[in-house]
Amino acid sequence: MRGLRLITLILIILLCGLFAYVAEDIPVFGDPDAPAIKSVELFTMKGAEGVSLLNRQIVPGPLSGELVRRGFPRPSRVEKAAGREGEWNGFIKKEEPRYAAEEKYYRIEREGDDLRVSRYAFVVRWMEKGLEETAVPNMVTYGLADYRGYDTLGETTVIFTAGVSVILLLRRRSRL
């Protein structure tokens, strides 16, 4: 018994060490710009010559070339972000029946002489367009039952599995 406690203690110290090592890069609590809620940075492009092109709503060639090289979809057009200077939204084409064919995907920011390209977290679309796309105001509900509806089918299956398992294990003199 004492040996077990000792092993537990060692494991706990190991895990705590690992967690302390991780703490450096964990996003700050409640940060509205965290990757999970806003956008994740992809790369930074040197040279600001793209800015004028971006202002004229043209995607600079090197930028879209770099995106495609990394395996991302090619941006179809860019647009100035509302109310922000030096920030653009990149759009991509997508095939979803009955919905707008273009979707806000990239976020391009000017930083001095560089262009920082990041990708919007997918929650952004849920939060901005969920109501018009599903006609339900509760984000958790449409996330649960529509965008990620398949997870919820799995969830219901899990609870059903638990119920049948308990029947299999405990119920005697039953027809099941």
Partner: protein, 132 residues
Amino acid sequence: MEWFIAKIFAKYNYWIFIILMMIGFYGIVAKDNLIKKIIGLNIFQTAIFLYFISLGAVRGGTAPIVDEEIIRKGYVYANPLPHVLILTAIVVSVATTAVALSLVIRMNQEYGTIEESEIIQKLGEGGMTRTD
């Protein structure tokens, strides 16, 4: 001091999650009573859920229900995705607990005890390799 604020205070959600998780882990491994083990497992899982939920928190964010008024006042929403995931994970945790409890009940019927060491002792008497 700056280090303290950046690492401990700004990420207090993370430290709470670690402490809870370690309590649960200790419960799972070190407790002899099977029910206490299940409780430890629940604490362990809950710690992870709390971590997920805290990922979704946004400073000054409101509940993620679309409302004209909230948009007009310029509030931000909390991130709904962790909530969606954790609703699923909570169900998984409930299901695991149910199966674990029914296993303990069956073991109590078979061996008349829910202490792990006593069960192992009884198994040893009966011969670990011989079953029925």
